[in-house]
């Protein structure tokens, strides 16, 4: 605790200012006068050459030095030693101080040839930091802090009821809660202004991320203490690597790091960069990058280039955190190796025209491949007479394991299945006249020998959304008809379900269409993280707020079985349709038991709040909260149980569920009893208070005509006077003269 004014020590009355050692402060705040040396830099790391080659070296050097500013005439001084050799360094005077700063920023660390790398420093800095005595001649090993036990970051998984946590951001408050189904969620922690912009969980649920103007903070443990802090002023977005080893932060504004704007843990190297990749364990930046501006080919009506929508994440992680890659659109993909963040094989992979790429979300287990590999899928459009291509590349070998040519492609999207068993390329194809669009699905069966490709070309319309069943092999897609240009109402959509045919011998059969549901407004697909169940919803729509809950493995009784579907590995059933007015986000809990739907104040201010459904679409709970912004379930790390143990649990599910039902019932009863008790108490208090008031009124001698039972009892009715009322309405009057 900081000492307050009251408890300051008072005995040091005879305080001698001259005794205080100010030297540390003096050093720290030393005023740096204009020394007239600000335009000087020292270039180090140069080759050592004899005198006759000196001019040649200076000339060579000047070419580099002049690239950032103007070196003064005869501004390079390269001293010679007794043997008429250069010393490997030079003093350079620029025309202005800012040019010297630029030289330090841009030329420092630049390689001259294979052996020599330039070190460029300001002369004043060398004087300041390199002065005699500033650097200790003797090496003192850094002290290693004694080990301190940290909080267990995964303690929440030990909940006795195996409940899930969720974070809710409403108003200025961020709170973490236990899901209590239809009861109010139980608060774990609730803090005002915990974040400035939004919150985010790390992919395995270990950290809660808060975003501030100064940077990003990670929170966790039982006490929700700060685990790490990453200073990145103006940060807009963050992205974690899949195993929570690294984090990428991005700001649309380039970083400004220099002497006047110091940022903790960032160095001059980060100046002007937009992306920083950090090591979460150490909290140190690994490498930073600037945004690549690719001049866009398309221009708007006024001839200005159309700003492309930024792809996020820009740096995509391989599933094991070993590689991160960024695409330079139309040119190449740069793959960096972790943790050194060096470019794989020191060069980017040239892929002419590349439009998009995606890493396999899990380790690919290709047929016949034993060694380590990671895969990514990419596509290139038609270039001249070359057809469009989809390719699969293996890393680190950079070998292209499969390509496929495609024609009349206007766009393509890459969808990996969660276990990397399939990748579906959704190809939007235009007709010859380029007037109508249709979609093909090219499904690569990654695990099968030779990576065969299956084509689904039965779809007539444009596919606007596609999603694989997690850990499964079924998928859902949404198609829409042509969009009339000047229509305010979006066209109706259709939802189609696909699954493999039944096949013998443990292989996955061909993909077949199960059913299409027409005339929907749906545009979003949310699979349960465990597969089987899927929610198809209409988000950001003005007319419809429907959510459809489907089961793809519905158990029908034998005689009901549809002949048509008998050789399919699915049995589709719509379980329920619900409506949530103003829904903007849908989130399955990590166990696939509950679905939370949110009307977020980020999008609109209508009826903000959330609904909670079970997987069948039964509404458990709804809550309207002013300025409700986010509800995100805390992810869970993958299970530690083996396949056999999981199968065993599934087999004995009935026994378990009986125990759980009993527990639920017991809990419910206690809760109900508490509520009833509370109500009884309130009612008793009220009745007692009323009696007291009546007595008081009697004492005051005031008579109040209160008919407490009026209107309800029969005797009250007796006093009522019946009035019959006859209402005549003349609807029409016509007069006819007869005769």
């Amino acid at each position: 605790m900081a000492p307050s004014y009251e408890n300051l020590p008072i005995e040091d009355d005879e305080f001698d200012e001259s005794e205080i050692d100010f030297s540390d402060l003096q050093e720290q705040y030393e005023v740096r006068l204009e020394e007239g040396l600000d335009a000087f830099v020292v270039v180090d790391g140069l080759p050592v050459v004899p005198e006759e080659n000196r001019q040649k070296l200076i000339k060579f050097l000047l070419r580099k030095l002049n690239s950032v500013g103007k070196v003064k005439e005869d501004g390079v001084f390269m001293p010679l030693n007794d043997k008429n050799m250069t010393e490997g360094y030079a003093f350079v005077e620029y025309g202005a101080a800012n040019e010297a700063v630029a030289a330090v920023k841009q030329l420092h660390g630049m390689p001259l040839d294979k052996k020599h790398t330039m070190a460029v420093n300001k002369l004043t800095d060398i004087d300041r930091y390199g002065r005699e005595g500033r650097i200790d001649d003797h090496y003192t090993p850094p002290t290693i802090e004694p080990f301190q036990q940290k909080e267990h970051l995964r303690s929440w998984l030990g909940d006795i009821e195996a409940r899930d946590q969720m974070v809710m951001y409403r108003g200025d408050k961020v709170g973490v809660f236990w899901n209590e189904k239809d009861d109010p969620p139980e608060m774990v922690v609730d803090r005002e202004n915990w974040t400035e912009f939004f919150v985010q969980w790390s992919p395995l649920g270990t950290y809660l991320t808060s975003i501030h103007a100064q940077g990003v903070q990670l929170w966790g443990g039982k006490a929700w203490s700060r685990q790490k802090r990453f200073a990145h002023p103006g940060v807009n977005l963050v992205d974690f690597s899949p195993n929570e080893k690294y984090i990428t932060t991005w700001s649309h504004r380039p970083l400004q790091v220099d002497e006047n704007h110091p940022v903790p843990s960032l160095s001059l190297e980060e100046d002007g960069k937009n992306y920083v990749i950090w090591d979460i364990a150490t909290g140190k930046p690994l490498r930073s990058f600037a945004t690549i501006d690719v001049p866009s080919a398309t221009v708007d009506a006024e001839g200005n280039p159309v700003k492309k929508k930024m792809q996020w994440p820009t740096f995509k992680w391989s599933s094991d955190d070993n590689y991160v890659a960024r695409m330079t659109q139309g040119q190449s993909i740069s793959v960096y190796e972790l943790p050194r963040m060096n470019l794989l094989d020191k060069q980017s992979i040239k892929i002419e025209g590349v439009m998009d790429f995606e890493w396999a979300p899990a380790a690919p287990r290709r047929d016949g491949i034993k060694g380590y590999e990671q895969l990514f899928c990419y596509w290139t459009p038609e270039l001249g007479s070359n057809p469009a291509k989809v390719g699969l590349m293996s890393i680190p070998s950079k070998e292209i394991v499969r390509t496929r040519n495609l024609f009349s492609v206007s766009d393509a999207k890459l969808h990996w299945q969660s276990e990397a068993a399939y990748v579906c390329v959704k190809v939007d194809r235009h007709s010859k006249s380029k007037k109508s669009l249709a979609t093909n699905l090219e499904i690569f069966r990654v695990r099968e020998k030779g990576v065969p490709v299956e084509v689904v070309d039965s779809i007539k319309d444009t596919v606007i959304n596609f999603a694989w069943e997690p850990k499964g092999n079924r998928f859902v897609l949404i198609t829409t008809g042509e969009i009339p240009a000047a229509s305010a109402v979006p066209p109706k959509t259709a939802v189609s379900f696909f699954c493999p045919e039944k096949a013998k011998g443990g292989v996955v059969g061909n993909f077949r269409h199960i059913r299409t549901i027409d005339k929907k407004n749906s545009n979003a697909i949310y699979w349960s993280p465990k597969g089987r169940f899927v929610v198809v919803a209409a988000l950001q729509s003005q007319q419809s707020f429907e959510l459809d809950f489907y089961d793809l493995s519905f158990e029908k009784s034998k005689d009901e079985k549809d002949e048509k579907d008998k050789d399919l590995t699915a049995n589709l059933q719509l379980m329920s349709t619900v409506e949530h007015y103003g829904v903007t986000d849908i989130e399955w809990d990590p166990t696939g038991r509950y679905v939370a739907t949110v009307a977020s104040a980020f999008r609109h201010l209508m009826e903000n709040g959330y609904h909670l459904y079970d997987f069948k679409g039964t509404l458990l709970r709804e809550e309207h909260i002013d300025r409700f912004k986010q509800l995100i379930w805390r992810p869970r790390p993958p299970t530690l149980l083996s396949k056999e143990e999981q199968a065993d649990i599934r087999k004995n599910l009935r026994n378990y569920s009986r125990i759980f039902d009993e527990q639920d019932l017991a809990k419910k009863n206690t809760a109900n009893r508490q509520v009833v008790e509370q109500r009884r108490r309130l009612l008793e208090e009220w009745v007692a208070w009323r009696e007291q008031m009546k007595e008081m009124l009697d004492e005051e001698g005031i008579e109040v005509e209160v008919e407490e039972d009026a209107g309800q009892g029969k005797d009250a009715d007796a006093e009522v006077e019946e009035i019959e009322e006859i209402v005549e309405e003349i609807i029409e009057e016509t007069e006819e003269v007869i005769g």
Binding site: R679, R680, M693, K694, E700, A710
Partner: protein, 335 residues
């Protein structure tokens, strides 16, 4: 039962009141006219003309013979209910925001607005319940609210206290004989205006509604908050139902914001809460503007609401309304 829609006003309703027997409803609106209606069928009994500005408030004498109104023309007027004859006019420097008769009908209270040079006041006149009597111009009491202006006020049981709600969210208790300020308690969020104050049948407690989206049940004697009802919209009015232990709250988004939003968002609903358990029981939709006032039938058989949309909606409660009981209430009833 289907509500009866009273269509007679041309502008937003400001207050509606039942008479003591509950057979009549009086309504005032910004269109300068006072209307009287039969509560059982919604037929209009008559109108009272004379005011020159928007009307803010109305109250009917316990005998149902006299009617008091106040409005933006800086007058408080007394009418004969039966004939519509104007009996007396009191003139003020500012508009009248609230009028209320004492429970015995012998006093009339008015709340005046605050305007530059004039502080908000609560004035009290002795009233002669005889229709043909000459009414006095002499104020029997005048309370000046110099802290924060009074928005609503009324007489407690036996006209012992005058209770006033203020613009700053506080409630004051004055001695009704001397005008001395006895208590001032912050009941609602600071600086959130108290928009309504209605009495329980015996006037030992009352309910306040506020812009802070809550309504509170407060005791008359020591201004202790008994219950609090939290909603998601600014409230304009709150009423306590006799017979059943409910309260009815009315409000909705401020009138000035309404045009920019849809009716669904406006929350123009009458909300029923259980008075003792503070839980919401139900809502009644219908208005397409905020509810400015809700009034309950003195026998608890129905209620009516006046909206910014210019309509009064009269509801008669059905059997399920009376049958509904919490388990613990049923236990209590069967004892």
């Amino acid at each position: 039962m289907r509500p009866i829609l009273l269509q007679g006003h041309e502008r937003a309703l400001t207050q509606v009141k039942y008479n003591a027997d509950g057979d009549l409803i009086f309504s005032v609106s910004k269109d300068h006219v006072v209307c009287a209606w039969y509560s059982h069928n919604g037929e209009r009994l008559g109108t009272y003309h004379g005011h020159q500005g928007a009307l803010w408030t109305v109250d009917v004498h316990p005998s149902s013979a006299l009617l008091a109104t106040g409005g933006a023309d800086n007058t408080m007027r007394l009418w004969e209910v039966k004939t519509g004859r104007l009996l007396h006019t009191w003139e003020f420097a500012t508009s009248i925001k609230r009028v209320e008769f004492s429970p015995d009908g012998r006093q009339l209270l008015g709340v005046t607005e605050k305007r530059s040079g004039h502080l908000s006041t609560i004035v009290v006149y002795e009233i002669d319940p005889d229709v043909d009597a000459e009414q006095t111009d002499e104020q029997s009491l005048r309370i000046v609210c110099d802290e924060s202006k009074a928005t609503v006020a009324g007489f407690s049981y036996g006209a012992k206290y005058i209770i006033a709600g203020h613009e700053d969210g506080t409630v004051s208790q004055y001695d009704a004989k001397t005008g001395e300020l006895l208590l001032n308690i912050t009941v609602h969020e600071p600086d959130m205006q108290i928009t309504d104050l209605q009495w329980s049948a015996d006037r030992t407690y009352f309910i306040t509604a506020s812009k802070d989206k809550t309504a509170k049940l407060v005791t008359t004697n020591d201004l202790e908050i008994l219950k609090s009802y939290t909603t998601d919209t600014p409230l304009n009015s709150a009423a306590i139902t006799p017979v059943k232990d409910y309260v009815i709250l009315g409000g909705g988004q401020a009138a000035m914001d309404v045009t920019t939003t849809s009716a669904r968002q406006g929350k123009f609903e009458a909300r029923f809460y259980h008075k003792i358990f503070m839980e919401e029981i139900g809502r009644v939709r219908g208005h397409f503007g905020p509810l400015n006032y809700v009034a309950i039938h003195p026998k608890g058989t129905g209620y009516c609401s006046g909206g910014e949309d210019g309509y009064v909606r009269v509801h008669h409660f059905d059997k399920p309304y009376f049958d509904f009981m919490y388990e613990v209430e049923r236990e209590q009833a069967n004892l």
